[in-house]
Symmetry: C2
């Protein structure tokens, strides 16, 4: 049985030592003092470890089952979901007008991490609902908000996102699902959607499907896509449930992982749907959900790696194999624990330095979203728009890589389902795919975000790094281990950007052939920046006489590892990028 | 349903254009003319595609089932195994004295690839038997050879390797399985072994277990380990089967993949065992199996990536999403196929250039083994001893990475079991673990192989690269794209070796902290060398007027990609290595 302990102290470190949330001039942030966030995270951690984590393996083994159109979630999920609702965990950052607690997004994100680490498949039921809530909140009419949001805030009703169809995922312009206007202003929705997470289940009274469809006679392609609310049960004006709508689950997919979440084929057969926002502007509304969802998926990436890492450490301390090459460290035992061996440490340090860097990056992203939304800060909005594909793409690639690396520490036991390490790898794998496969994230980053607003945001990003380095120039403790490598990595990233500018004009393939490398490079630079800042924060805490010196010293040592051993990846990515499209595009399709 | 086509042409290219096997002065190689190897590979490919490949998904879905101690393999396995026996595929490179065909190992290895690509789990039954055959052949008495080998050559009886116990895998000195001498020279074996592939099944009349155990009263630790033959059914002197021996399957493990192979807990309860070779020299005998097995596992790595790649290409050509940024390439269709997009190509070229490079590397390794064994060439033996951990460790890491990358091309469909891409990733994952987890391969490489015989073999390896570069110095077509990058990568590798020498003395952790990076670095240099040689061979073929110009030009273009885009990884690995042990070993175990 795998273990899980909520990293409350680490989350607190990011919120307070790094982001200094309670000092920020953002509406609602003054409530986020150390005691308050500590109490929330403590409680979230308790729910995660005691309620959700024990159901993780259960969910994987049992999966969801469909019988006569009814989908049954795994044993214990229903009761746990009731506990989540009751604890108000689904409503933390929702609008108080609809029953939410109105807490900042950064607080919600921090509290989500333990839930996702403990049981990713389970947490998706609430995660999807939150995304659907956000889209209706941002684009729905007042009437729609009044009708659906209060029950979605509490997760009495859950939500879904319906984009993909059998023949199209990324390219939604090819969509075939049709919407035919009724006389009363509603629409008849017909078509098939696939890969619908939480599409059907037994944990909520109603399911509010958000469905992309094309209104008959509208523009061709992506410009003719509209977004609709299609409730499983129609909702009467008094809020009570009415007739069963024409939407059914056709089947549940058998997947590599996240078995606890029902991934459904959804069939819409003249289902009644209600337009959200303007006709043919569905993509814009959908992106409200998507951007938030992408940060959430980036969190899944590192949160799964965190769980896997915790288990790998426990195993490495417990399992006796071989002797330290520098002399026995457990001389009275038959062998030393795995953790004495340099290559095991190399592996564990890779995992640890990534996870802690990614946690900081993700919460910084959440903070930027708060700054954008609560303070209407356009610079913050531009910056998080730039960083979102990196948080999603880089962190889920690395999250899977390190979940797999954690599995490796177990040797053969890592491959046996009984030990639970396979599940972390299998579950983490989906995060690289959904909410836009990582190749699409890279395309979004290089093809759109870099040049958005005339490249203003990426320049601000580089400026931010430069300013940080300059400001700490005299800090010798920070210089060699942190500032110098950050400077070098940032220079590599700038060179790559320069290469794109100079060579992408004459042939855009020169830029797009390097998009994936650029995304990874930028991920490293972001984590490098996070680590430099965290090291500074930890040094400040130590200088300020913080009592938990071990904790802060460990932070600095972990950061040093990242800067020394992970950041040099930027030079490899730059070398790849600098070769342009020539070798990438050389072959005729027939010769693959 | 996934596809698979045997890459006969590519195998032929490696055997003849690259290795020029029929020109080599090695006993038995004069038979290996192009027509002969072509006929063998054609037939092997046919068996792989028509018989084994259709059972791959079946094996994954059904798995092996144990009822009342009897293990049932998946539907169709038994008939397919009978076909493999009948076709003589299990006996290709075995000793004619025991019914083998006596073909070179390189021929056997080439023919194995399609079998492994088509159905890895299935092929393990025969693979393990071959390993057990080799150990008995090398270390058994004449009587033992006469008794067991003929039936193992035909796979009427299969074989297993029993090393791991619940509390020890890598550190076999901790082993608890005991051997107590009987009066007749045999032993009573008692203990439990785990992770025994093909430990029990219904496809053979007898199973010959090779079991490591400690003879009572022998030396402590690894020096007291001996190797025993423990047949499932004792074999009478006339070759007929006698009494059931005291060995039983306790359970079958549930694993992440290779479900078609029965991974067994084997219980030995005073089972009769027969010592192979000398008492307490079991590890040496076992390593005969292990070294061969490691090449075989390295082959599994790229062979799974090959299968996954073939499917990814087919999907990328078929699936319509988006438009080429340089203008529609399928203007009459609703969208262009995925393969027009640079990032899809980047992904496919990564896979293709790895697989083809690894194929060359593996067959070169098999050729070196032939040279060592058949010509008693000590230099070849030293070189393959050096390269074995690289073939195993590098190729299985990359094989899994690219099986996962191929899965990514499918988007959401890659995560659904129905499409079969998940199985390639799940199956490939084990190759990083068994036959010595890849961290152990790295340790073997840096801790033992680099310094073996005074570093003679690694110096010969560098010399070989240098000579090749020098010899082709005037070849402009080869210089920029191949020789220069090979030189740079080789220099990086030498620098890393130098770092180990200079810093490993004062602290061995400085070397061991970089062992994993060194293994990867060396893998890249080996594939770089293979690609430079393949490019040369392809250019020669074109100059010689070869008719299939597309094939050879594609080889050169694929090689260019590898040199430009994969080889720069060496600089990253060198940078990591050069930071030594400081950041790797910085933390107290308690602070992980």
């Amino acid at each position: 049985m795998p273990i899980y302990n909520a990293p409350t102290k680490d989350l607190q470190f990011v919120l307070h030592d790094l982001l200094k949330v309670s000092e920020q001039d953002i509406a609602g942030y003054d409530d986020l003092d150390r005691d308050f966030t500590g109490a929330v995270l403590e409680e979230a951690g308790k729910v995660a470890t005691e309620v959700l984590h024990p159901l993780n393996v259960v969910g994987d083994k049992e999966g969801c089952v469909m019988e006569n159109g009814v989908v049954r979630t795994p044993t214990g999920f229903k009761a746990a979901f009731a506990q989540m609702k009751q604890g108000g965990w689904t409503a933390m950052d929702c609008d108080p007008e609809y029953g939410g607690q109105g807490l900042p997004y950064v607080m919600n994100t921090a509290a989500q991490e333990p839930f996702v680490s403990a049981n990713m498949a389970f947490n998706m039921y609430q995660g999807l609902t939150h995304g659907a809530y956000s889209a209706i909140h941002a684009h729905g009419s007042d009437e729609q908000k009044q009708k659906y949001l209060p029950k979605m805030v509490t997760c009495e009703w859950t939500g879904t996102m319906n984009l993909t169809e059998p023949h199209c995922g990324t390219d939604l312009g090819l969509m075939r699902t049709k919407a035919v206007p009724n006389d009363d202003g509603s629409y008849k929705i017909s078509g098939q959607k696939i890969f619908i997470s939480a599409g059907e289940h037994d944990m909520a009274d109603n399911i509010i499907h958000l469905v992309l469809a094309k209104i008959q006679g509208g523009p061709e392609g992506i410009k003719g896509v509209s977004l609709f609310i299609v409730p499983k049960f129609l909702v009467n004006d008094d809020g009570s449930l009415g007739a069963r709508n024409g939407v059914t689950c056709g089947k549940i997919e058998e997947k590599m992982g996240i078995h606890g979440n029902a991934t459904c084929v959804m069939n819409y057969d003249q289902a009644t749907g209600f337009l959200i926002g303007q006709a043919h502007k569905g993509m814009r509304a959908m992106f409200t959900m998507m951007n938030e969802a992408r940060i959430g998926v980036g969190l899944q990436g590192y949160a799964q790696a965190e769980s896997a890492y915790q288990n790998a450490v426990a195993y490495a301390k417990d399992r006796l194999q071989g002797r330290a090459v520098t002399g026995a460290e457990n001389p009275d035992g038959p062998a030393d624990p795995l953790i004495v061996h340099p290559d095991i440490r190399r592996n564990l340090m890779d995992q640890k330095s990534f996870v802690e860097g990614a946690r900081a990056f993700t919460l910084w992203g959440a903070y930027l979203i708060d700054r954008a939304h609560r303070n209407d800060d356009k610079d913050a909005e531009g910056l998080i728009s730039l960083l979102t594909p990196v948080i999603k793409g880089f962190q889920t690639d690395k999250g899977f890589e390190y979940a797999t690396a954690a599995q490796q520490v177990y040797g053969g036991h890592g491959y046996i389902e009984e030990w639970g390490m396979s599940q972390y790898a299998r579950d983490a794998r989906i995060a690289m795919i959904y909410e836009g496969a990582n190749g699409i994230q890279a395309l979004d980053l290089v093809g759109r975000k870099l040049t958005q607003d005339g490249g203003k945001h990426v320049m601000a990003f580089f400026e931010m790094i430069k300013t940080f380095i300059k400001k700490n120039d005299g800090n010798e403790a920070l210089k060699t281990g942190f500032l110098d490598p950050l400077k070098a990595a940032s220079k590599d990233l700038q060179s790559a950007g320069m290469y794109f500018m100079q060579n992408g004009m004459k042939n855009p393939n020169n830029a797009l052939s390097g998009s994936y490398d650029f995304m990874h490079m930028m991920g490293h630079v972001c984590l490098g920046l996070m680590w430099a800042r965290m090291a500074k924060a930890a040094m400040d805490a130590l200088e300020g006489g913080a009592s938990d010196t071990d904790f802060y010293k460990t932070k600095i040592a972990t950061g040093r590892y990242y800067m020394a051993r992970q950041l040099p990846a930027t030079s490899m990515h730059l070398a790849r990028i600098n070769t342009g499209a020539d070798t990438v595009m050389a072959l005729e399709a027939a010769n693959f």
